[in-house]
């Protein structure tokens, strides 16, 4: 079973080293466990088009049967690279998206399709706010993102 993720990730890597949709760039993929991607949101005034948002992908050996862990990173070196404001993104970078949960995940998804989903989730956002209870969640949460039981109560945003 250990080999499951390797081959698939190599193929994915080969593909995204080629052409990617506008606004999505591969930053680094040093191994087959952690990748970094950058996102830009092109047409939403909430997110200036020159701001980059850094996504960190962590793959388990069961990928793609298991969803990867995807979080936003805050880069202290560059103030423009903060965690994007969104009612489903906590200020510690954890994203509440059904796609990344065991129930919503399908092994057909890949790094590119996840990036596109998150990009469009941001692009269509109109609310300049964090999720309710953000401060409390960020302070108290110790669980890995996959172990958090999010309530996907709001499919509209």
């Amino acid at each position: 079973m250990a080999g499951m993720s390797g081959k698939r990730l190599q193929k994915e890597l080969a593909k995204i080293q080629g052409v990617l949709p506008p606004g999505i760039t591969l930053v680094s993929a040093p191994d087959l466990q952690t990748w970094h991607m950058d996102l830009r949101i092109l047409d939403n005034p909430l997110y200036p088009p020159h701001d980059h948002y850094r996504l960190k992908f962590s793959f388990s050996k069961n990928y793609p049967i298991e969803a990867p862990e995807v979080v936003f990173l805050r880069l202290t070196t560059d103030p423009r690279r903060d965690i994007p404001i969104h009612p489903h993104i906590y200020s510690n970078g954890i994203i509440c998206l059904d796609l990344l949960d065991a129930q919503g995940w399908s092994p057909v998804h890949n790094v590119e399709s996840i990036c596109i989903s998150i990009q469009s989730m941001l692009a269509s956002n109109t609310k300049d706010e964090r999720p309710p209870g953000d401060a409390e969640f960020v302070r108290s949460n110790r669980a890995r993102p996959r172990d958090i039981n999010f309530l996907y109560h709001d499919p509209s945003v």
Binding site: M1, K11, I65, S106, P107, V108, H109
Partner: protein, 576 residues
Amino acid sequence: MPIATRKRKADSTTASADATSEPQRKLTKVSKALQKDSISQEQAALPATPQTLTSDKGMDSDDDFNSVASSMDLGEEMSSSVDFGAGESDVDIDDDYQDDGAFDATAKDLAPKRKHFEVEFKVYSPQDIQSQQDTQIAEVANLLEQPSEATAILLRHTRWNKERLIEQYMDNQEQMLDKAGLGQEINQNPPRVVVKNGFTCDICCEDGPGLETFAMNCNHRFCTDCYRQYLTQKIKDEGEAARIKCPGDGCRKIIDAKSLDLLVPNELTDRYHQLLMRTYVDDKESLKWCPAPNCVYAVECGVKKRDLNKIVPTVHCECKQSFCFGCTLPDHQPCPCVLVKRWIKKCEDDSETANWISANTKECPKCNSTIEKNGGCNHMTCRKCKNEFCWMCMGLWSEHGTSWYNCNRFEERSGTDARDAQAKSRQSLERYLHYYNRYANHEQSARLDKDIFHKTERKMTLLQSTSGMSWIEVQFMEAASQALQQCRQTLKWTYAFAYYLARNNQTEIFEDNQKDLEMAVENLSEMFEKPTDQLAGLKVEMMDKTTYCMRRRVILLDDTAKNLKEETWKFNVELR
């Protein structure tokens, strides 16, 4: 085993068939019942010990019965068989006699009436549950002309409500299939593994020649390796079974048992079927797993949620566990589930604290905040409501005039009122503690009884060697010990029950019954303290006391249950 295992109505044809085919057997049955009755009239009053029908045949016959009575409404059948009244219907099958297999009108007359506090229930083994599912699936599959795998998915989708399924299916077949996660042509397309050249699996990106692939009728095709891994993950790690969807993005097709068997190794299919069984029991209101650790049995009982204020449905599993079918807590007769929940909650946050409060604090006469005075003068100002009062007389401080710090205003009205109010709240607290202490005492004693039980076993061995009694002759000790535990359990809950009971004439009878049982229990309990060498001589006395205990318990439970059913009890809280 004849078909009419559990006949509800004396069906003349089957009855006569019985009689002709097995006259001999019936005779022994009756005499056995008679024997049982005469040997232990007292035992008959004990809560019924159910017998599982472990043979598949027994199950089948039961289902046969149901399908004969009404072709497809098992649910209906079960709810109509719920019967709280003891003798007024023809349904009273005493569980004691279930193991006797075919018993008919003659045997039925001999069976004692069901007590008010007893409910009808059945214990099922995993095999029983499996065949129960199979029968229902086969029945509906026939009707809908769908393969059994698809029928199983449909039935699970409607939570085993056959009527609803059939109705909706007949209404709009396509919509129903779609909603349940099935496609149209499942009939024509049996699941199979296909080797496809030039195929790239979307999961592993494998595209070599000779790749084995699989797809359900949604045509989301993946290689079998990936499919297998996906299913393994779902079953093993996520514990899913009944609602595993196609791995394709957004696809709602549910994987069926046949496809699954095709794809995954045997040990996983076992787990899969285990999980399916769990959802079956969880889905049905009339079935519950026995809550005892490691117990594999499930219990069927027709008591509905809405009836729980009128009956306490205690059931007894094959594994000896007695539990309430309503809330799956250990047997808590005679106290109804709602009160049990309330009581447990109250005890969790109140009891010990309440003790301390009672001893050390007073309440503000205005807002009833609890105040502990830890020093200083008698002039109190409530932090909460700013009420100023005197700690001694509880009267308004303003009425104290100039006699500050020296309370001599004993006759002031406001003081009397405040003291009255306080006395009232103190009284309610003391009332609670009264019941709680007795409740806790029996709980504690029941725990000690467990020790007694183990000591009993040792005593029994000792008794065998010293008195020359045989093993069977010392069984009275175990019977006594068990009776003790059971009675304590009942007593414990009578106190929680009494706490919520509003006082009227009925409560006096209840309290008398309670007192009698309490005395009987303490008397019996005392006997266990006697030295072992005397025990042999006390055998008869001990048996008498055991019997008496059990009889008192039945009287108390029966009376309480009867009043509960007739809703003659008045409670000081709402049963919600």
